[in-house]
Every structure is written in C-alpha cells, then in structure tokens.
Symmetry: C2
Subunit: 352 residues, 2 copies
C-alpha cells in the first residue's frame, strides 16, 4: 500500500497547494504599506505579518485529519484536541515564534454535548501545554456536510493559531550550514499524520478492530493510533534561548520529505543516525505491505521534530529537551549536497 492508494495523493495535494499559493499571494498587496504587511511567503510552516515594534505575527491553520475517525471508533474524544493544538503549535514554533493564541473550528454531524465537551477538554489541555489561550471558536452543526466512522459521531476539527516572533529572530533554515547538527526529538507515536494509511492498513487490509492488539507493539490498535501528538513548544522555545538554532522542522504531512523546506535549495540533510522506530510503525508497514521509503515519506518514524544547531551548542539543545522530558538525540547533519537523505532502520539510504 501507499499513502496515495490509501486515498491521499500527496503529489496532487502539493500541486494544488502550489497553484493556490501563487494565486493567493496576490492578496498580499492588499495590505501593502498598512498595518499587517505580509512578510513571509505562502507555504512555509507559517506565514508572517508585520505588527510593528520589530515584531511579527505568525499565522497558521491546521487540522487533525482523519484521526477524528479513530476517536469516533473508540468513542473517546478527550485527547483529539491535544492533537489539534499540537498540529498548530508545532508548526508555529518552526519559524522561531512563540505560540500565543488559538481559535478552533469544529464541524459536527450532530450537536452531541458530551462529545463536544470532551473535545474541548483536550483542546484546553493542549493549550495549557503550549501556553496558548483559546480565544474563540466556531462550532458548526452540519449533518449534510460532515460524516464519520459511526453514524452521528462525525466531526472535523481544525484550528488557526497565532504566534509572535521578533523579526530579527525568525528561523527559516537560511542560516543552516554544512557541519551543523540535526537533533531529532522523539515522537509519542503516529501523531496526526498518515492516519489514513494506518487505518486502511490495520483496519481494512488486516481486518483488525480498534480494540485488537497490534502483533508487534502489543498496544491496542485504537490506543496506538489515538495517542496524542507531542507538543514541542517548551523544549524548542528553551533551545532557542540556549543554543544557536539554524533550522526547525515539524515532521508532519509528508514526514521527512517536508524537511526539504528548511533546506531552501541551499544545503541538504543527511539523516544517518535515525533512532529505531517505535514498533507501531512496523505493525502498520507489515499490515499494509508498505514500502520502507513510503513509510519515511508518510510517518514520523519516531522523530516528531528536528532542531538544526551549530556543533558547539548541540548539548544545550539535547539538555533543553531533557529538562522537558523529551528524549532527543543526534540524527544527522547538514551537508552541501542538496535534498534530504535518510538511512532507514534497515540500513538503506533513501532520498526524500
């Protein structure tokens, strides 16, 4: 199986995004010379607008994707909000910004009060971890637009977040240079990416239920897939204060291929010290007969976030992570050769 034949054609998504981006950038002119002039280009982790005083606001929108379907199958909704905050906050920090506030958008098939309350519980827990305020939200009840894995339980959850960064401290990856070190921060599991492929592999192809145990990891399918995405705000903000940080990357949609963004066509990454992936990834790979390369293009494979730092401050980064109870290790380095190369757990070198 591939992510594409599971229903998500990343190539097509990228093409559509590219076209949208070029077109939508025209709107940047509408704020030219006014408050809120646009600084960043459409398509990096988050865009930036100038708010004066040497500061910029980062804006970003993201959802939890089809992880909502796993929550519905488990009839358990108290952590999906954490994923929603994570998908937003982890992208906001990629440009060196401090997450500030979040507004959620919840579209439901039916106005089930308990389900909605549980979703909000997770959102509040995530906001606490990311130190963000949830300053608003919209709940739309649309039985003709939203469906789910179980009738009546359908919902879609996304959010938009803002962060603040001093303009002269924006991190884009442009400062990355050969010999810089790539530190990988451990993920909590599958996070909120590739869930479509994981579901199809485990639930459809292998025919497991969410309550069955995974043969390799031993976890229950639903629990493994629903485990909330780790929020990297605290370790990353601390690393920014104690280390020379040249690049930051959330391993999200497109997984390691997404790190090409921070290379900016200038340098490359050689990730030759990747940790052993969490066993759940082998369960998915085996159930879906998924190619190893496809796994690294779709899943975080145990590394949810990367911090690129100068050699001299590597230990500061790892120490900052440790203080926030996030395992981190050197997973590779910056090289002159452009693109992202990765040595898989089977010892194969792949280009992403």
């Amino acid at each position: 199986m591939t992510y594409k034949n599971a229903g998500v054609d990343i190539g097509k998504v990228r093409r559509v995004h590219g076209e949208i981006g070029a077109f939508v950038e025209k709107t940047f002119a509408f704020r030219k010379g006014k408050f809120g002039e646009v600084l960043g280009k459409f398509g990096h982790y988050a865009n930036l607008i100038d708010v004066g005083g040497g500061r910029a606001l980062a804006l970003h929108s993201d959802g939890v994707g089809t992880k909502v379907l796993v929550a519905q199958l488990m009839d358990k909704y108290d952590t999906i909000g954490i994923d929603c905050v994570a998908m937003n906050a982890n992208d906001i920090i990629c440009i060196g910004a401090e997450p500030v506030a979040l507004v959620d958008y919840l579209a439901v098939e039916e106005p089930r009060e308990e389900m909605i309350s549980e979703i909000m519980k997770g959102l509040v827990a995530g906001a606490e971890e990311a130190e963000m305020a949830v300053v608003g939200g919209e709940t739309a009840i649309m039985p003709d637009v939203i469906k789910g894995a179980v009738p009546g339980r359908g919902f879609d959850l996304s959010a938009t977040s803002i962060g603040v960064v001093e303009v002269n401290r924006i991190v884009t990856g442009a400062a990355m240079k050969p010999e810089d070190i790539v530190v990988g921060l451990e993920s909590s599991g599958v996070h909120s990416n590739g869930i479509t492929l994981a579901r199809k592999a485990l639930l459809e192809r292998r025919g497991l239920s969410v309550h069955d145990k995974l043969p390799i990891s031993g976890e229950k399918v639903g629990e493994a897939l629903l485990k909330p995405t780790r929020i990297y705000v605290k370790p990353v903000l601390e690393a920014l204060g104690v280390a020379e940080v040249h690049g930051l990357g959330h391993v999200t949609g497109g997984a390691f291929s997404k790190l090409n963004r921070i290379c900016m066509g200038r340098v490359g990454l050689l990730l030759d010290q990747m940790p052993e992936p969490h066993p759940v990834f082998f369960d998915i790979q085996e159930a879906g007969n998924v190619d190893e390369e496809e796994m690294y293009r779709t899943f975080n494979m145990g590394v949810g976030f990367v911090i690129v730092t100068s050699k001299e401050t590597v230990e500061n980064v790892i120490e900052a992570c440790r203080r926030h109870r996030v395992n981190a290790s050197i997973i590779g380095k910056v090289v002159e050769d452009k693109g992202v190369r990765l040595v898989t757990s089977k010892g194969r070198m792949i280009k992403l």
Copy 2:
C-alpha cells in the same frame, strides 16, 4: 417549518457554546502577563488580545455553513469564498477593528483542482473587497469525513481572521444610549445564514430545483441562495472615522436576536422602521410555511448590518454607506427597555 426542525437547534447551539465558553476561558490564564494577554470575553463577535503599543488584535473564526451545498448543486464555486471572507470580516468590524489577514481551512471530499481554484478565486475577490491578505490556508482531503449534495463535490469552507484596533477605540455597544439611532445597511439577499431552513423549504418541502424560478422574486432558486454575502468593511470603517459610532452589529446566525449582544443587558433596540424585505424572503417563508417571527430570528430580512450612532451623526453614517454604494436607512433607535423589539413588514411587534 422552523430553523430547529430544519435541523439547526439554535437554542442547543447556544447552550453548547455557553458551556464551551466558560470552560475554554480558563485558557486565558495561560497568557497572563505575557505577550498576547486576552482582553475580550469569549462570545462577543470577536475576541481581543493585547499586542502592545495601545493596540489589540481581534480574532475570529467562521464558516459558510451549508451554503456549500447550494454551490455544489449549482456546480459553481467562484463566489462562496466571498461569503467566507464576509462572514469573517463583517464580524471583525463589529468591535471596531480593521480586518487585516485571513487564513482559510478547506476540507474536501476529493481533490478536484478546478473546484478548489474556483473557491480560491472567490476568497481572493472577497479579500480584495475587505482589504485583507490571505496569508495561509489548509486544504484537507478527507473522503471519509466530508460529504456533499452531489457525490465527489463535497467540501466545507471556513476561515479565521485577524483585525487590529486601538484599545481605546474598541466598540462593544457599551456606549449605546437611549435616543441613539440604528442605521440598517442593506443586505445582498440571504447571505450565509439560515441556508439550511431555506434549502429545506424551497428544495425539499416545495420540491423546487436550484434551476427553477422562485414564484415571488422571480430569481432562480440557486442564484438567489448563492448570491454572495455583502462585505461591509469599507462603509463601516469610513463611518467609524466620520461619525460617533456606539454599536455595530452583523446580522448573522440568530439574525436580529443576535443584536441583544450589543445591548449588553443595559439598553434595548426598537426597530420600528425596518425596510420591506427582499422578495426572496417571502418565497422562503411561503415555501416553508415559516412563522414571521422565526423569519426574523433566522434571516437578515434585507438588513445585513447595523450601525448605532448618536443622533447628530446619523447623516454621516448614511453618507459613508452611500459613498460605498450600500443603501442604508434609519431602522430604529436605542431605548431604555431592554431587549430587541422589531416591527415586522406585516406591522406586528415581536421581541427577539
């Protein structure tokens, strides 16, 4: 028919929102004493966060609801983005803020490139009218979450927007006093509220197709329902500059009952000079056998936005609207009696 039996129980929505609000407000403490401290309370048109320099940012999220289904039935997607901008920008200006930037969230059943491009076309057109930059967006492809009126055409469109306002120029309605005048700004038609009731009445109960003509207004059903929501940014911002504006209200979900918000339990509104509603509202009322009071609780009935101003500057407000080609007229006044009272086109006094 009522909005409730058409599938949208506004009472339940309000109750859920109330519960969410109280709970989510706890997150405001997470920014206490930091950049982005929360100023506004959850639940007004838009919440505010302090960004220093005497300025606050307004944040708001809103979607176009089931108007997407009309677009799908018409297979016409180039204006629904205007509605999306309108639903956001018209709420942002309600607190006196200037709309600045917007991030869209589009969830689709299938990645139809042409459909997505058309949707973005409308978004860009709306952003131009509202003078906002579209600084990002997320397109999620989720065949298992999104459905539509026609297989494959399903989508859900929402956005989050930010605006800026000087803290000492925030408009909440708290300055409204008896004898102030309420100016009503003409709507373009049904806008993006009550579409569920309109669809059920016209398409299901009356059995019309989107291509049929409406008996009273003579418009085609689909064209009448799909007509884009008017964006009131320019006239309102101009009015704020030339008049004493004490209250601003977008006539959106909940229609005229929503104006209770700006009364803040202090004063009331007596809307006894409402204009004759656009004929499309009579088509909906007749097809659905909808009670007149329910109509004013669900639809804008021809008035999409209200500006409350002191007697002395009424003409300035009307003139500001005229300069932006928006018909505006006095529709009532502020009174001591709390609540919103409205005299319908049939001469009946209703309390909302």
